[in-house]
C-alpha cells in the first residue's frame, strides 16, 4: 500500500520536473546552491566572520583596482573579509527565515484548526487576531516587541515566527471548515474518530499542499523582514552577522566602499526572487483546479 503511494508520488514529481520552465530551473539551482553554502559555511569560508585585520581595511573586490586574491570580495571597515561574512550571513539569515517560517506555519495551522473545530467565540477571537495581524504593519509590531523586551536571538526568531501566521490560519481554517461540514471529515467522525485523528490524519494531509505553497511564498518575505529589522539595528546583533545586518552597518560607507552594501543586497535580491518564483510555480502546479492546463 505504501509502495503504491510512493510510486504515485515519484511519478508526479517527475512530471513536475519535465514541465519546469527555465526560470524555475534556475531558481531551483540557486536555492540548492544557497542552501549548500549555508550548510558548508565553516568549510568554504576563507576567514572567520569575526576575524579583523585593521591594517587591511576597506579593500575593494578583486575585479577593481587594488583588489587582492586573498579577499575576493574585498574587506569592510574593520578589515573583515566580505566574502566570508556573506557566507556566514547566508547561514544565519536562512536559518532564521526557515525557523520563522516553520514556527509561523505550525502556529497558523494550529490556530486555523482550532477556529474551525471550536467555532463560536474561539473562532471569533482567532478571526479578530487574524484581522489585527493583517491590519498592523508587521515591522512596527516587531520593532515594538524587540525594542521593549531585550533583543536576543531566540526572541528574534520567535518574532519572525509570528510573521505571516495569519495567512496559514486563514487558509487552514477555510479548508478545514469546508472539509468538516460536508466531506470525509464528517465521515471519519461518524466512524468514531477523535478530533485529533480527524485533524492530523485526514485534514492535515489534504491541506498540506496549500500549507507548503504558503511556506515557500512566506519564506522570502521572512528573509526580507529579517534583513529590514537587522538593517534598522533591531535584528541580528553584532558580532553575529546576517545579510541585513551587513547592509545596515555598511551604509555609512556606501559612497566610498559600496561593495559592503551591494554584494549582500544582491544575494538577498536573488534569493528572495528565486523562492518567490518557485513558490508561485508550486502554487500553480499543486492547485488541482489549475492542473491539466
Amino acid at each position: 500500500m505504501n509502495e503504491h503511494r510512493n510510486t504515485a508520488d515519484r511519478k508526479t514529481w517527475r512530471d513536475y520536473l519535465t514541465v519546469m520552465p527555465p526560470s524555475i530551473l534556475i531558481s531551483a539551482i540557486w536555492i540548492v546552491f544557497i542552501v549548500a553554502v549555508a550548510v558548508l559555511a565553516d568549510v568554504i569560508a576563507p576567514y572567520d566572520y569575526k576575524h579583523m585585520d585593521l591594517l587591511d581595511r576597506l579593500r575593494p573586490p578583486i575585479w577593481m583596482e587594488n583588489g587582492v586574491w586573498s579577499h575576493l570580495f574585498g574587506t569592510d571597515d574593520l578589515g573583515r573579509d566580505v566574502l566570508s561574512r556573506i557566507i556566514f550571513s547566508i547561514r544565519i539569515s536562512l536559518f532564521v527565515a526557515l525557523l520563522g517560517t516553520f514556527i509561523g506555519a505550525v502556529l497558523g495551522t494550529t490556530l486555523g484548526f482550532a477556529a474551525a473545530h471550536f467555532r463560536g467565540r474561539v473562532d471569533d477571537l482567532i478571526m479578530i487576531l487574524i484581522d489585527f495581524q493583517a491590519a498592523l504593519p508587521f515591522l512596527i509590531l516587531a520593532l515594538a516587541v524587540l525594542a521593549f523586551f531585550e533583543n536576543s536571538f531566540l526572541l528574534f526568531v520567535l518574532v519572525m515566527g509570528i510573521y505571516g501566521w495569519e495567512r496559514y490560519a486563514r487558509i487552514v481554517r477555510g479548508l478545514a471548515l469546508s472539509a468538516s461540514s460536508t466531506g470525509y471529515a464528517v465521515a471519519v467522525r461518524v466512524l468514531g474518530a477523535s478530533p485529533a485523528r480527524v485533524y492530523l490524519r485526514h485534514i492535515l494531509p489534504n491541506v498540506a499542499s496549500a500549507i507548503i505553497v504558503n511556506m515557500t511564498l512566506n519564506f522570502p518575505e521572512t528573509i526580507l523582514v529579517e534583513t529590514s529589522l537587522s538593517f534598522l539595528g533591531l535584528g541580528i546583533q553584532p558580532p553575529l552577522t546576517s545579510l541585513g545586518n551587513m547592509v545596515g552597518f555598511g551604509r555609512d560607507y556606501l559612497l566610498t566602499a559600496w561593495w559592503i552594501v551591494v554584494l549582500p543586497s544582491i544575494v538577498i535580491f536573488i534569493t528572495s526572487l528565486a523562492f518567490s518564483l518557485l513558490g508561485d510555480w508550486l502554487r500553480d502546479v499543486l492547485d488541482p483546479t489549475l492542473r491539466g492546463n
Partner: protein, 335 residues
C-alpha cells in the same frame, strides 16, 4: 401479536426531536435568526425494519439523520437507541456508540478521504475502535470489500480512480465493517446513474439480510422507497405530515401533500394517463414558515383554521397511519 411486541420495543425511537439553527450575521453583533430545521418529529424504527423518510429538498430529512448521529446535536427531544438516550451520551460514550449506528453518505466521493487508498479507509474504523490485530484488520477489510463487489485489484486504488457505484460500495463497506445494527442511508443512490442505482439497492438488500441490519432510508425517490422500505415518514418543512406502513400510505394517502407526491410517481405503462396533482409554488422558506399548517399556501383544501392552527399528527384508521391535517380529521374548519 408479534407485531405489537415488536412495536413495544423498537430499535430506535425518536420523540419530539427539534433541531434549531441560529444563523444571521454571527459574531457578537447582528440579528440572530432561527431556523427550525426539525420541529417536533417523532417516529420509531422497528428492529429489522426499513424506514423511509421522504420529502422535498430542505424539508429537514437529512437534518433528522444528522441529529440522530450527533453531527448536529439536537436542540431538544429524545433519541432512544436500544434503551439508551443518545442525547444524554457524553463524547466518549458517543464514540463507542458509533459502532452501532453507521451512516451512508449521499456523495461518496466527498465522504472518502482523497489521499487514502480504499483498503486503508475500510480498515480505519477497526483501527479507531482497536478491533483485532493488523493482519486480521486487513483480512477483514479485503473480505468485506469483496462482499460488496469490489475486486481485489481495486483495493489499493484511490477514490478518484473509482466509478461512482464503486465508491458507494466502498462507503458501504466502511460503514459495515463495524457490524452496526442501524444503518442510516442519506440519499445513498441519488448521485448515481439509474442502472447503478439498481445495483446498489440490490446490494443494500443483500447486506441487510446478511448483516441483520435495521435501515433508515432517506430519499426523495418515492418509487425507490416503495420498493425498499416497509414504513414511511413524509416530511414537510421540518415536520411530519403523514406516516404509516408502505401499503397504507401508498394505496390510501390521506394528506394532500402525500397525495401530490404519490400522484407524481411515473407509471411505467405505455399510454397511461396520469392525474398528477401539480403543487403550486415553491416550498416556503424555513426562515419564515407560514402560520398555522405549513402546507396551507399550496393546499387546495385550505380553510380558515388551517391558516392559524398547526394540525396535530393523529391516527387515521386502525393500522397506525398518522396524518397531520385538519380536513382529514374533519375538524370544525370555519368559524
Amino acid at each position: 401479536m408479534s407485531d405489537t411486541q415488536q412495536s413495544m420495543n423498537p430499535l430506535l425511537s425518536v420523540s419530539n426531536l427539534r433541531l434549531t439553527f441560529n444563523t444571521g450575521y454571527g459574531g457578537w453583533l447582528g440579528n440572530r435568526r432561527h431556523v427550525h430545521a426539525v420541529d417536533g418529529v417523532s417516529f420509531d424504527v422497528q428492529r429489522g425494519g426499513v424506514l423511509g423518510i421522504v420529502g422535498e429538498s430542505s424539508c429537514g430529512k437529512s437534518s433528522v439523520a444528522k441529529s440522530i448521529l450527533n453531527i448536529h446535536p439536537p436542540t431538544s427531544g429524545q433519541i432512544i437507541f436500544d434503551g439508551e438516550d443518545l442525547v444524554r451520551l457524553n463524547t466518549r460514550a458517543w464514540r463507542d456508540m458509533r459502532r452501532e449506528i453507521q451512516y451512508v453518505f449521499q456523495d461518496p466521493l466527498g465522504a472518502l478521504d482523497p489521499r487514502m487508498t480504499v483498503l486503508a479507509q475500510v480498515i480505519e474504523p477497526l483501527i479507531i475502535h482497536s478491533i483485532g490485530s493488523s493482519d486480521e484488520q486487513t483480512k477483514q477489510a479485503h473480505e468485506l470489500l469483496e462482499a460488496v463487489g469490489l475486486l481485489a485489484e481495486s483495493h489499493s486504488k484511490y477514490p478518484h480512480e473509482l466509478s461512482g457505484g464503486q465508491r458507494q460500495r466502498v462507503v458501504l463497506a466502511r460503514a459495515l465493517i463495524l457490524k452496526p445494527r442501524l444503518l442510516i442511508c442519506d440519499e445513498p443512490v441519488s448521485a448515481l446513474d439509474v442502472s447503478i442505482q439498481a445495483q446498489v439497492i440490490q446490494l443494500l438488500e443483500e447486506l441487510k439480510t446478511s448483516f441483520d441490519l435495521t435501515i433508515m432510508f432517506i430519499s426523495h425517490d418515492l418509487s425507490l422507497v416503495r420498493y425498499f422500505c416497509d414504513t414511511i415518514v413524509v416530511m414537510y418543512l421540518g415536520r411530519i405530515v403523514e406516516s404509516g406502513s408502505i401499503e397504507e400510505v401508498f394505496t390510501n394517502p390521506q394528506h394532500p401533500y402525500t397525495q401530490a407526491l404519490i400522484s407524481s410517481i411515473p407509471v411505467p405503462e405505455p399510454g397511461h394517463k396520469r392525474d398528477a396533482i401539480i403543487l403550486q409554488g415553491e416550498p416556503p422558506s424555513p426562515f419564515n414558515p407560514p402560520t398555522g399548517c405549513h402546507f396551507h399556501p399550496r393546499c387546495g383544501w385550505q380553510k380558515t383554521l388551517c391558516r392559524s392552527v398547526y394540525p396535530d399528527l393523529d391516527a387515521v384508521g386502525q393500522d397506525g397511519q398518522l396524518v397531520a391535517c385538519h380536513v382529514v380529521h374533519g375538524r370544525k374548519l370555519d368559524p
